[in-house]
Structure formats: C-alpha cells, structure tokens
C-alpha cells in the first residue's frame, strides 16, 4: 500500500528547492533522475540522496516508504570522484 508524502527536495548548495507530493513507492533513484532532468544538474556527475532530517543516506534502490516521513528534507548530493 503506497501513500502520498509531502517532502522537500533540494540540491546540496541549496540553490534549487522544491516542495513535492510524492508517492512512497518512488525510489531515491527516481527522485535523483527527476532532479537532474528538471533542474538541469550536470549529467556527467553521479548523485546520492540524503535525508537531512534524519541524517541518513537513502540506499539508491530503496523506496521512500523506507526511512522517509512527511515533511522530511531530502538533499541531492554529488558523488565526488576526483582525488
């Protein structure tokens, strides 16, 4: 049984934010892809999703029903690869 979650999604630099109603069946990967598409984030970068409210990272394939509650703030963070 899925439910609707009202969430806040933002980029790590907080220049982009959105308040969204999302189905709890959506995965972290779905949200990242939507952020890349809608906010024109650099496509040659990889991203992870972090729940800043709980201070925990979301596993890429997990749906929002795991570890996300209404009102939580999710942050799209870059996966940094240079050294």
């Amino acid at each position: 049984m899925t439910q609707s979650l009202k969430l806040y999604v933002r980029t790590a630099d907080q220049t982009r934010r959105a308040e969204l109603d999302l189905d709890s069946a959506n995965t972290g990967a779905d949200i990242i892809q939507a952020a890349v598409d809608n906010w024109a984030l650099p496509a040659d970068t990889d991203y992870t999703l972090v729940n800043t409210t709980t201070g925990r990272a979301l596993a890429p394939g997990d749906d929002l029903a795991k570890g996300v509650r209404p009102g939580d703030v999710l942050e799209v963070q870059p996966v940094l690869v240079a050294g």
Binding site: A12, D13, Q14, A29, I32, D44, T45, D46, Y47, T48, V50, N51, T52, G55, R56, A57, L58, A59, P60, G61, D62, E75, Q77, P78, V79, L80, V81, A82, G83
Partner: protein
C-alpha cells in the same frame, strides 16, 4: 616511548586534551593515490607524526599536478608520484616511517599486507579503484576512508570495518550510474575499451586541502570520530556549509551484501595442484564448489570463422583487464570475430588443471563453505 627530540617536536600536541600523540605515532596508514588529496593527506600525517605512512601510486608527475600538490615540484615531472611525495614528506619529519610503493595497488597491496595497517585512505580519482579498495578492506577488516572532491565540494566517507562487522561499505549508497560509468570502460565482459575517454574533473588546492584534512582526521579517528558507524561528510569549500550523515548497511549491497559475516581469510599461496591443501585449510568442503576469483580471466580464445588460434596462448589464463578489445579482432582473418571467453568463476579442479603448480593471476578467491564466506588469499606474502 618517544625519544626526547620527538617529544620536543610534539609538545604543542600534548596540550590538546583529546589528542594522543602515542596513538598517532603508533598508527599505520596506507595512502592509495598520491594526487592532490594524497599529497595533503601525506603532509598532514607526517606533520602529526603518524608512525607509518605507505604511499601507493602507479602514476607519474605531470606539470598540471603542481597547482594542487603541496609535496611536488617542477623538478619531479616524470617521476613516480609516490616516490616524489615520500621523498619530500621525509623532509617534514625524518623520524616518520614513510615508504613509496610504485605500481597499481591492486598488484602491490596484498590482503596480508593490508591487514598490517590501521586504515587505508582512498585518495584515488576513479570509481573502479574505490570499489577494489572497498572490497579489499571489507575482507581484511581494515578501516577505509574515502576522499573525493571537485572544484567546489569535498567529501570524506569513513568505513570502520575494523571496529564493526555490521558497518556499511562504499557500495551501500553508490548509485547505479556509477557502475554504468565503470562498465563504459570495458567491453566483451572484461576487456578494456581502446576508445575510452577519461573524465577530467577540475579540482583546486582549496578543495584538496579540505578533503585531505577531513580524511586525515577520519583515518586517525582524531577526537574519537567515526568509531562505529560509516558516515559521510560533505563540505562546500566556498560557502562553508556542510553536512554529516550516517550510512546504513544496504540489504543486497553488491559490496558487503555477499558477506553475512566477514569472510574467513585462508592463506593458501596459490597451491592449486593439490586441491587438498586448499580444502584442508578451510575444511573438506571445497570440492567442486565454484570459487569466485577477484580477477576475471580469459578462459578461451577462438575465432568464430577460423577456429582455434595459435595466439590463444598469449591470452588464455591471464587477467582480462590486462588486454583491450583489440584482441577481439582475429589476427588471421582480421574480422572482429574472436570469441573471448572471460570468466571469474572456476572450480578448484579447473584451476588445478589450468595452472598446475603455477600461480593463478588473481589476488583472492571467494567461496561459500558450510554456510560461511571463505576468502582464499592467493598472493605470496610481500617480500617473499
């Protein structure tokens, strides 16, 4: 007990109530990569008086490295990075044990050697090296610290494998897109693509110094940081904002999901000619059990049009990553018709048949025996 000259050197550290010079001076750290972050980490570790610092890198110094590499000079151009960095770091503190290990760490850092360190720091510039170091540290139960950066952000993740069997690993939050990037570099299931283009990510000395500082603190667990849980720090080096989040273990993670418990490491030194040696070490249960090698091997090489090829002897039973996809073109008919059979799973009997008493070109082999994971360490101890 430190000698008097060293005691003088670290007098200011002794004034810090949460800082133990004794612990830092006893620490053994492997720094994988002597690029921008590696330079900063080695500099910090040497200044702090870290006991042993081993620096691994295969690469050579280029002039464009000099804008971000505190320990490199123009005169180092063309030299191995690890050797140049270690030489300069010895000037900082000649009492610290610093060693350069030129070459790819996958070839130079055995599981046995890794287990001698308290921590390995991934200061590398690609996913593949991070995935490999993550796998080694998971098996060896040695803490891993991963540092990454771009032109603005610095991120440091710590994975205290040595402290907790249940800690998350580097792959627990790694997105599918990262695996896709690794896969782009290979074709035919394991041969390197000739036309592969490396991404060049611009970085600065500022992001490198922030990442290097956080990585050093995490590696030495300064202030008791990150003792039990995997975590990630992300810092905006321009605005100063940052976050620290906890990384949870992911069910089915491609990295740590394979091990319910850490694997039992058994050193068999590649003696496949007598499978009993192997079975005897881990019980009698190996039998025809498939073993998953750390490195995919070329198991067969035959042209679809010409049939068996004499050239097969050059490729078969060697690591697939040694070759690029040019070998898929038949040397006889010049058609891209060679079937290159690449596998990483073999039975003990197959390995014995292929390699006899010779060395299997892999670091280790994993098997599930009696419900538990076993890792057969195939490498000779370093220096033997």
């Amino acid at each position: 007990m430190l000698d008097p000259r060293r005691t003088q050197r670290y007098r200011r550290h002794d004034l810090i109530d949460w800082f133990s010079q004794e612990q830092v001076s006893a620490a053994r750290v492997a720094v994988i990569g002597a690029g921008a972050v590696g330079n900063e980490v080695v500099k910090n570790l040497a200044l702090l008086g870290c006991g042993t610092i081993d620096v691994f890198d295969f690469d050579t110094v280029e002039l464009h490295n000099l804008t971000r590499s505190i320990l490199l000079r123009e005169s180092d151009a063309g030299r191995n990075k690890a050797e140049a960095v270690v030489e300069r770091a010895l000037d900082i503190d000649p009492h610290v044990t610093l060693r350069a290990v030129p070459g790819d760490f996958w070839d130079t850092l055995s599981l046995g050697r890794l287990q001698e360190y308290d921590c390995a720091i991934a200061a590398v510039d690609n996913f593949e090296a991070r995935l490999r170091l993550n796998q080694l540290c998971l098996i060896a139960r040695v803490d891993m610290v991963n540092a990454g950066l771009d032109s603005r952000w610095a991120a440091v993740e710590s994975f205290p494998f040595g402290a907790s069997e249940a800690t998350a690993c580097y792959e627990c939050t790694l997105p599918e897109t990262a695996y896709a990037r690794v896969a782009e570099r290979y074709s035919c299931g394991g041969l390197r693509r000739r036309a592969g283009v490396e991404r060049r990510i611009p970085t600065t000395a500022v992001t490198a110094s922030v990442a290097g500082a956080l990585a050093t603190s995490a590696a030495l667990r300064l202030g008791g940081e990150g003792r039990l849980h995997a975590q990630r720090r992300l810092v905006d080096t321009i605005g100063g904002a940052g976050s620290t989040i906890r990384i949870e273990r992911r069910a089915g993670c491609p990295g740590c999901g394979a091990f319910g418990q850490p694997p039992l490491v058994v050193r068999i030194r590649n003696r496949w000619a007598t499978p009993h040696d192997c079975a005897g070490a881990a019980g009698e249960a190996v039998g025809e059990q498939p073993l998953q090698l750390s490195d995919a091997l070329i198991a067969g090489y035959e042209c679809a049009a010409c049939g068996p090829l004499a050239e097969a002897a050059q490729y078969v039973n060697r690591r697939a990553t040694t070759f690029d996809d040019a070998i898929a073109t038949c040397p006889r008919c010049a058609a891209p018709a060679v079937r290159v059979d690449i596998r990483d799973t073999f039975t003990v009997a197959e390995l014995a048949a292929r390699f006899g008493s010779g060395r299997v070109p892999a670091k280790f082999a994993l098997a599930e025996i009696n419900g538990g994971a076993v890792c057969f360490d195939l490498e000779e101890p370093q220096g033997s």
